[in-house]
């Protein structure tokens, strides 16, 4: 398969504008500027691309919600918070091919009528932020950003905004709140950002990878894009594999690649002779899968059908001997640490669960702990303000479902039986 997302990252000086242009960069945006904004939105709709940030919302549809009123200011925000544990795909693009993201953002801004674009990048990505800022400087220098880009009527300014280290700021409305200088906590929806987003103005928020797909859709065409992937989840996807495999790393593959192919062909199989025990397929919010599920395809539908999610495409592979109680504990410790504190079930529930899991992990469990965990999950799930709390619960429920005995043994002080 021809790569479009990771095609440049290993090239020398790939982050420089010269290198990007030499490899055919900034042609798509020139082409796009010849099309009407509505035409671009239509093409993106037709391509069937779904957001790569986790929720898989159809990108073209999201853009089409932006009001056409030319007197309204509109904004594009690139979600570069990449906070989901296990996820490291956006970073590769920003560090090594920043102009691909800029070009995607230019086309998107033009399509939705935004004159300003923000890249909200997680605080820890200092290197990436510098690379992006340098890339933006280069683009201004070349006249690719600023007034009347490529001699057209279209003008665009772009800024990098660094977060301050909160997972919740990857949630789109918390991102907006943080970008405005407020406390990073989600806003109530409706109103949705497409109508009232940044500073109350219509706003599109897209993931880095989503935006990085846009130039190819314009340049290579809708049909080309649809020719990879599955019917309902077309296009390429970056899978970031970590854990007990021989060759962890980033793999750009068609949507719908099976887990088996990903782990055993692309990643070279398990790192030792211990067999596979469990796979988290889409970042730690996604319930885990077990060896029986290896032939499931990696796309939004198939993953959903298995009760889990494709999420960000961050695959965490665990071998036999991994303690699932410990995995659950570490995961929940993350969620309770990252709970923004806004709503009661997530704020109080995740920390409670974490404390119980810690006890279990240390063999200080009590009879009834597992039932209590499940009840607490029930009191959190579906009751929270944003999906963070749900994510925490889904992951834990998955672990308990598949590895109940391990949990019960911990609760009965029998030690780890993993």
């Amino acid at each position: 398969m021809e790569k479009i997302l990771l095609k440049n990252i290993d090239k020398p000086e790939s982050h420089k504008i010269e290198s990007y242009i030499k490899n055919g960069g900034y042609n798509a945006v020139r082409e796009a500027l010849k099309l009407g904004p509505d035409d671009i939105i239509q093409r993106v709709k037709d391509s069937g691309i779904r957001g790569r940030g986790g929720a898989g919302f159809p990108t073209g549809l999201k853009w089409s919600f932006i009001p056409k009123d030319p007197t309204l200011d509109k904004y594009l925000c690139c979600n570069a918070d990449e906070g989901e544990p296990g996820t490291f795909k956006d970073r590769a693009i920003m560090d090594n091919d920043p102009h691909l993201l800029l070009e995607g953002m230019m086309i998107t801004s033009y399509a939705i009528g935004a004159a300003v674009g923000y890249i909200y990048i997680r605080g820890e990505f200092e290197f990436g932020a510098k690379r992006l800022e340098a890339a933006i400087d280069e683009a201004y220098r070349e006249g690719y950003l600023g007034k009347n880009i490529f001699g057209s009527e279209f003008s665009l300014d772009m800024y990098v905004h660094r977060g301050a280290g909160a997972y919740i700021c990857g949630e789109e409305t918390a991102l907006l709140e943080s970008l405005e200088g407020g406390r990073g906590q989600p806003r109530k929806k409706p109103p949705f950002p497409a109508l009232a987003g940044l500073y109350g103005k219509p706003t599109v928020i897209n993931n880095v990878e989503t935006l990085a797909c846009v130039p190819a859709i314009i340049e290579k065409g809708v049909e080309w894009f649809k020719s990879t992937g599955t019917e309902k989840s077309p296009g390429p996807k970056i899978f970031g594999v970590s854990g007990h495999v021989k060759k962890p790393g980033l793999y750009e593959l068609p949507m719908g690649t099976t887990l088996r192919e990903l782990i055993y062909e692309h990643c070279g199989g398990m790192r030792s002779d211990k067999p596979l025990k469990a796979v988290i397929p889409g970042g730690v919010s996604a319930p885990l899968l077990v060896p029986e599920d290896l032939d499931t395809t990696m796309d939004f539908e198939a993953m959903g059908a298995k009760g889990t999610m494709l999420g960000s495409g961050a695959v965490i592979v665990m071998e036999e001997g991994t303690c699932m109680v410990k995995v659950a504990y570490i995961t929940n410790r993350f969620f309770s640490h990252e709970s923004c504190g806004k709503c009661t079930p997530c704020r109080e529930g995740t920390i409670w669960i974490t404390k119980i899991l810690k006890r279990l992990e240390e063999d200080r469990g009590r009879p009834g702990d597992i039932d209590l965990l499940e009840e607490l999950c029930g009191n959190i799930f579906g009751r929270t303000f944003c999906p963070l709390g749900d994510g925490a619960v889904m992951a834990l429920r998955g672990a308990i479902t598949h590895f109940r005995d391990e949990f019960l043994n911990h609760a009965a002080h029998k030690g780890c039986t993993a």
Binding site: K188, G341, K342, P345, R347, I351, G382
Partner: protein, 842 residues
């Protein structure tokens, strides 16, 4: 309208109504924590979840609007379980120290757990503790975060209503703590609204700490005795000591809010220095006496004096009934036309102010003013003087987009909600309003053919007016543009208009032009004494009888009475609740003048300077120690109830007036009614504007938080009166020379008049007066905050600490009124409303 089905019952509500409100309307109670009427919804506590047919997830009813045809369930097993779950989560990290918590017994968490909570606790882990000991946030606020339910009501009320925005959350997740910046001492309004809205015992009153349990308190409905906003509150006592004042959601225009004066300033009532027995002067010394001794003495002394040679002065913090009876006693029993209700305002100016602010056409709701297209706040330091009006304006402007224009000399908190803030010169408000009127008139001259009173524009020049106002033509254009594009314009008429009478005519002119342009004009008086409007409507003015009728004989006002006393023109004075000697409102020394009288009768709660030189002093009662009504600045007539008896032998003023009247005359004009309802019924007849006023509604808790009880607004006065024409309205300013400053005065956030200085809590919040001036002026004088400066006027000087003020106009200094040891009024020699002073570093 939308049709909704709640628990199977169909009802019809306005589009956009929240499910919670629709349910409450239908009599269905849904428990809440983070929801607070008048604050923007956040939907974070998850207590109010409901089931909506066709939706998988439970939805928060406090932020979800109804849709036509929606079917909602509020009591299914799933919902009950969700509520239990939320409550269990709250309790998991809650301190559960109810036995030592001030909130115990009136805590929303306690009540909610009792009603909806789990019976058993399953949380067996260690609790997160934010801190060990409670910590002090301000002289009136103490904090315990271990009890917090993270509803953010404190943070939101401070930001959205109070406008101070000094609270926020520290930390994240379960470590999130709502407090001040790094828990430091608050530099804020100390209003305690955070305490009032906190559903649990996190924000607590420091002065009330560990003093009582709520069930040991006895409370009564009363009205704040400070400014004329007329905030309703409950004062509570235990064993005869008033311990707490609080506001109630859904009661009064203030609902759950009060300012620092209202919430903490009630404690003057417990002052041990209060008068508890009548005093009669014997051999030059005031000695305790019985009531009958005192009354006999009064009768003997007063009956020999001709009515017209007696002066009467009553405080605008008396009830309508007391004021009405007092003027009746003065006019009918004693036969004296000399009566006034203020030591500060000139009665002729007052009459013109009443006419210009349309008070004769009846009450105007503050909510109507705040909901106008444009609200022009002028003539008042609103945020300090009438804080709850500032809250209402801030809240409603954010909700409805009212455009606020603030025109003032000094900056104020409301500036942050105003689209336009104008800093005019002191005394320049009249010129500013005239300039606005002129500019509106000139731009629409063709439309305004035949404008009545066009001669009022004669000789006016925009340039000269703008110069007098110290305002640029761009600023003026911005004001008139906002007026032009508004269908309703609300103008406030603040007390500065009473100080700078030029503004009154300008207000009339501006309002006439706006009306001629087809706009609806609403004028909202802003007054600084609780019953000032009532005093005027009860006829406690030398030229006006009750109900704004022209008095049959015009008498002397306060200043004239003092001058008459000095010149031998009167022989006696009857003073209730005022202190002309302490306040010295006249060019002549009030002490010297009153010394010449043969008889002074004072009714007061404290031994004031005037009382100390009186021949007879009768001990009176405060609000909360008596029944009666106040009429607030809007013209809203509100009843208050007695909580406890006044100390010792003290009596309500109404009873005292009746006794005095009883010993003076047994025949005509007696006003011996001691029951305030009977007197009020008489007022209804004498002042027809009060005939239809309902007092009932005021004391009823109003569940739906509809705060605007229009039944309490006074009606229009019949006939009306023509004010005595003001002789001149040239700004009575002295010429300001090089290195000199204009001096302005007024109330502060914590003090307004004598009363507040008897409150230990308010004195703790602000003890002494400070001289305020702009940063530029201060640096030119080599002064910085806290240093002392000497202020010199024509025949008075005083040394004060300096406070820098960012938004103050250069060339102006401010000294507050009525601070002990600072007689700011002595800078105001007769006829000068804008004195010039010299300031030096001392």
């Amino acid at each position: 309208m939308a049709t909704v089905i709640i628990n199977g019952k169909t009802s019809s509500v306005k589009d956009g109504t929240l499910i919670l409100d629709a349910a409450r309307d239908a009599g269905v109670e849904i428990p809440t924590f983070c929801y607070q009427a008048d604050l923007m919804g956040v939907g974070s506590c998850r207590m109010c979840l409901v089931e909506i047919e066709g939706q998988k997830k439970l939805q928060p009813s406090c932020i979800t609007p109804v849709m036509d045809g929606m079917s909602i369930q509020t009591e299914t097993p799933q919902i009950l379980k969700a509520r239990q779950g939320v409550l269990e989560f709250f309790l998991s990290n809650h301190a559960l120290d109810c036995p030592v918590c001030d909130k115990g017994g009136e805590c929303e968490l306690q009540d909610m757990v009792y009603k909806h909570g789990p019976v058993e606790g399953r949380y067996a882990e260690s609790k997160h503790r934010f801190h060990e000991k409670d910590y002090i946030l301000s002289p009136v606020i103490v904090k315990n975060s271990n009890r917090c339910v993270q509803c953010l009501r404190c943070v939101r009320v401070c930001d959205e209503v109070v406008g101070r925005n000094v609270l926020a959350s520290l930390g994240r997740g379960h470590e999130q703590e709502e407090t001040s910046f790094l828990r430091s001492r608050l530099d804020c309004d100390h209003c305690g609204n955070c305490i009032e809205v906190c559903p649990v015992g996190c924000f607590m009153r420091l002065p009330y700490r560990y003093k009582s349990r709520p069930w040991d308190l006895k409370g009564t409905d009363t009205i704040c005795p400070y400014c004329a906003t007329g905030c309703r509150m409950v004062v509570e006592e235990r064993d005869g000591e008033a311990l707490r004042a609080r506001a109630q959601i859904g009661v009064g225009i203030n609902s759950e809010t009060l300012c620092a004066r209202g919430r903490f300033g009630f404690d003057f009532i417990n002052d041990p220095r209060r008068l508890t027995t009548p005093l009669v002067k014997k051999f030059g010394k005031l000695e305790p006496a019985t009531w009958s001794e005192a009354l006999d003495f009064i009768s003997e002394k007063l009956s020999g004096i001709e009515g017209e040679r007696i002066g009467g002065l009553a405080s605008p913090v008396l009830t309508n009934e007391e004021l009405y009876s007092f003027q009746k006693l003065m006019r009918s029993t004693l036969g004296s036309p000399n009566i006034d209700s203020s030591t500060r305002w000139d009665p002729v100016v007052v009459e013109n102010y009443i006419a210009a602010s349309a008070m004769t056409s009846g009450g105007l709701s503050v909510f109507d003013a705040a909901e106008a297209d444009t609200l022009f706040v002028a003539g008042t330091q609103l945020s300090d003087e009438n804080p709850i009006v500032d809250y209402i304006a801030r809240r409603i402007s954010a909700e409805r987009g009212t455009r606020i224009i603030v025109a003032s000399v000094r900056d104020m908190k409301l500036d942050s909600s105003a689209g336009l803030s104008i800093r005019h010169l002191p005394g320049g408000l009249g010129a500013l309003m005239k300039a606005a009127a002129l500019s509106l008139y000139e731009s629409k001259k063709d439309k305004l053919q035949g404008f009545a009173g066009v001669e009022r524009f004669e000789g006016l020049s925009a340039d000269v007016l703008l110069g007098e106002a110290g305002v640029s033509s761009d600023e003026l254009a911005a004001i008139t543009k906002r007026f032009e594009t508004s269908a309703t314009v609300a103008l406030t008429a603040g007390t500065d208009l009473l100080r700078q009478s030029c503004g009154i005519l300008a207000l009339g002119l501006l309002s006439d032009v706006l009306k001629a342009l087809g706009k609806e004009v609403l004028i909202l008086p802003i007054l600084d004494r609780a019953n000032q409007r009532g005093a005027w409507e009860m006829g406690v003015l030398p030229g006006l009888a009750p109900g704004y009728r022209t008095a049959s004989k015009r008498g002397l006002g306060t200043k004239e009475m003092i001058e008459a006393a000095a010149a031998g023109g009167i022989d006696a004075m009857y003073v209730i609740g005022e202190d002309p000697v302490g306040e010295n409102p006249s060019g002549v020394s009030a002490f010297d003048a009153l010394s010449k009288l043969s008889f002074i009768l004072v009714q007061d709660t404290f031994l004031t300077d005037t009382a100390a030189m009186a021949d007879c002093v009768l001990p009176g009662a405060f609000p909360a120690e008596k029944d009666g009504t106040f009429t607030n600045q809007e013209g809203r007539v509100q009843a208050m109830r007695r909580l406890k008896a006044p100390p010792g032998d003290a009596r309500a003023y109404l009873a005292i007036i009746a006794s005095v009247s009883g010993v003076l005359s047994s025949t005509t004009g007696v006003c011996t009614k001691t029951n305030s309802m009977q007197v009020f019924n008489e007022i209804r007849k004498e002042a027809p504007a009060y005939a239809g006023v309902s007092l009932e509604f005021n004391n009823r808790k109003n569940k739906l938080n509809k705060l605007d009880n229009r039944e309490a607004l006074a009606g229009a006065s019949e006939g009306g009166f023509t004010p005595v024409a003001m002789t001149s309205c040239a700004p009575a300013a002295e010429q300001r020379g090089e290195g000199e400053f204009y001096l302005i005065t007024g109330n502060t956030l914590f003090h307004s008049g004598r009363l507040s200085h008897s409150s230990p809590t308010l004195t703790g919040l602000q003890k002494g007066a400070a001289l305020e001036l702009s940063e530029a002026d201060a640096s030119a004088l080599g002064l910085s905050s806290g240093e002392e400066a000497r202020v010199q006027g024509n025949d008075y000087e005083v040394t004060l600490p300096v406070r820098l003020r960012k938004g103050m106009r250069d060339g102006v200094v401010y000294i507050p009124e009525f601070f002990p040891g600072v007689s700011v009024e002595r800078f105001f020699t007769t006829g000068v409303s804008l004195p010039v002073v010299k300031v030096k570093k001392s």
